[in-house]
Amino acid sequence: MSTFTIILVVLAIGLAGAFLGYRHSRALQAPAGVKPHSRPVYHASYVASWAIIPSLLLLAVWLIASPIVIESQVRGSFPEGVLAESQLTEDLAYGIVESLGNGLSVLPDDERATVTDEMPVKDLAALLRNRGLPVASASADWMVPLALDIDTMQFWSRLAMTVVVIALALAGAYWGYRQIAPRLRARNKVEGVVKGALIAASSIAIMTTIGIVFSMLFETIDFFSRISPAEFFFGTVWEPRFSAAGSTGNAGSFGFIPLLAGTLYISAVAMLIAVPIGLFAAIYMAEYADNRTRSVVKPLLEVLAGIPTIVYGFFALVTVGPFLRDLSAQISGIVTGDYASFIQAQSVLTAGLVMAIMLIPFVSSLSDDIITSVPQSLRDGSLGLGATRSETVKRVILPAALPGIVSALLLTASRAIGETMIVVLAAGVAANLTINPFDAMTTITVKIVAQLTGDLEFNSPQTLVAFALGMTLFVITLCLNVYALYIVRKYKEQYE
């Protein structure tokens, strides 16, 4: 049975258990003087919890553990020659054996029957290729019996899993059902289950973050074992020199400074434009606009936030960039008589400008919420003293909302730093180190994409550098967010 079917069966058992539990609970005759502790719906949930939770947990553990057990079994019977080679070769060999094994379970029964321990690996690979499963570099005949082993073990493991999980679900449902009694504190126990589910949900988010960090961490360490951190962090030339697959040599410069500079420069230009506009829009909406205007303008502004960034990229590429280039040509023509544009079609300015348009709704929407949450009593107090609206905003509302606004701006900044598509199309991919905003520059995210796409050997520093870049970017945005939290905490204490 497939995993999905098993889950469905378990859920069906839980549902049936809940239904029976509900009926049983309704029919319960409480002894005189004893008030039933929980309503029938809690008894039903209690039975369902017993049926579903333990069996699904077991299923999850089994799914994780089974491949690990099989792998260690199979590796144990690898030929001596392979074991003597490097870890990498062994991993590779296991990968091939595993895909052969997985392929076997797809074959129809009559073809499956022809596969024996003595079958040459070439024939098996051909068989699989006919079924649309190409197995690259399946070269050694000793792999066939092991693949058969894997197939057999997988079959039995799955069968055992199906039986055990469903049996556990049934046993759980029975156990829960037997427990139903007038004084069973099913309500409190269901509360515990709810709490557990909530904790599980939030820990999944945290675990995922940790998992992402670690997945980058090992590759990053690998990268730094080949290229020295000093060269990476302080180098001013970015020229990784794409190494073709198979060729060796770490030639290339991995100076990270031009990328960092480009990232910060473009983000700074974007923030410089987006923050005043977004903040003013937020102040208008929160303080001046009446409800009718607000109900129209706010959703309109938020539509901007819903536009995919690649569309902003088009906008930059076909409209803003050429416009700025032609404009600069006109200006230089008027000033010097020479119609040479001094703004490149792809430039820091173009990217910053278009990114700013993307950021405006973030700034305004976040700030609007924060400004609106400043208590009305402060507004009344200021207006009651004869202050104008703008004086009230400047001297009372903004100072009171400042910590929130600062953290909103830092969140926006992390978004600007992480932006990729707009930069690719608007500022180009050239890793220049310049202070001229009319020149092309590029950012960390763009280079991560560039290093990971294309036909590259996964093991080369040219590819691994993407992880180092990603890790650095992660640390930068993490620092920004932590700083935002710190600011909010610090000023909150002061004001409340």
Partner: protein, 270 residues
């Protein structure tokens, strides 16, 4: 009911003639959207006296108070009709400067609402925006005088740079009063200034109100009949958007003419 109002209107000016009139209101109506909150209130507010507005919740007394310095302007759907005169000048005249009006008619709110700034900056806020002080010394002078008048100076003089929000509830409310008198208003409107305070803080604020009467005209909305009796000279009773009765406080609490006033102060409703 009409007779009562008529009787009240006829009687009103005669009773109030003793002191010069600071604010005159005639047929003031307020609509919140389609709902009418005030049905034509005619009331004269005498100078250098405390006028108390009493009545059950939702009777329109706070709404009326907020008309006097046009704080209702900040509510989109509020529409004010009738005539409100401050020293004979129409408050709702399109030519009038609302900002200047609010400097002349200050306001203290139900919940103490100090700004998230230092004690000094709270009081200096009004003088700064109105340019009342030409130098730092003048500003210091205004702040210290206002704090003294509000009876807060002794308690806070050594910590003027601490946040105003760190004071106790009663101190915060006196800080708000100091903030209001720092712009030298002529009239101070108080919207249930003691409802968020404990009895001791209330007593302090009430004493303060009594002292402030010398220099300012005060209009106070209160839920507490005892408070109205203690601090006010003139009492106006509101009921369901009408002015039920107005008269000298002593008379209102000993021998009211209107049945509704009688019922209210004896605790039969409200």
């Amino acid at each position: 009911m009409m007779e009562n109002i008529q009787a009240t209107l006829n009687r009103g000016p005669a009773v109030q003639a003793a002191k010069p009139i600071k604010m005159k209101t005639k047929d003031v109506t307020v609509h919140y959207g389609a709902k009418q909150a005030l049905n034509g209130v005619t009331l004269n507010i005498p100078e250098n006296q405390v006028t108390a507005l009493i009545g059950p919740s939702g009777c329109g007394k706070s709404t009326y108070l907020r008309c006097l310095n046009r704080m209702n302007d900040t509510i989109d759907i509020a529409k004010v009709g009738g005539e409100i005169l401050l020293d004979g000048e129409d408050v709702y005249d399109p030519d009038i400067d609302v900002v200047e009006l609010r400097a002349r008619v200050g306001m203290v709110f139900q919940k103490p609402n100090p700004f998230p700034k230092s004690i000094f900056d709270n009081v200096a806020y009004g003088p700064k925006i109105h340019g009342l002080a030409r130098s730092k010394q003048e500003l210091d002078e205004i702040v210290h005088t206002s704090l003294r008048r509000a009876g807060l100076y002794k308690e806070v003089h050594d910590r003027l740079d601490e946040p105003g929000t760190g004071l106790s509830g009663g101190q915060q409310q006196r800080l708000c009063i100091a903030r209001a008198i720092a712009v030298s208003p002529e009239v101070i409107l108080m919207d249930e200034p003691c409802s968020a305070l404990d009895p001791i803080a209330t007593a302090t604020v009430e004493e303060l109100i009594d002292e402030l009467r010398e220099n300012y005209t005060i209009v106070i909305v209160t839920h507490s009949m005892q408070q109205a009796a203690r601090v006010s000279q003139l009492t106006a009773m509101f009921h369901l958007g009408d002015l039920a009765e107005v008269g000298p406080t002593e008379k209102m609490f000993s021998n009211p003419d209107d049945k509704r006033t009688q019922d209210y102060i004896t605790g039969r409703f409200g």
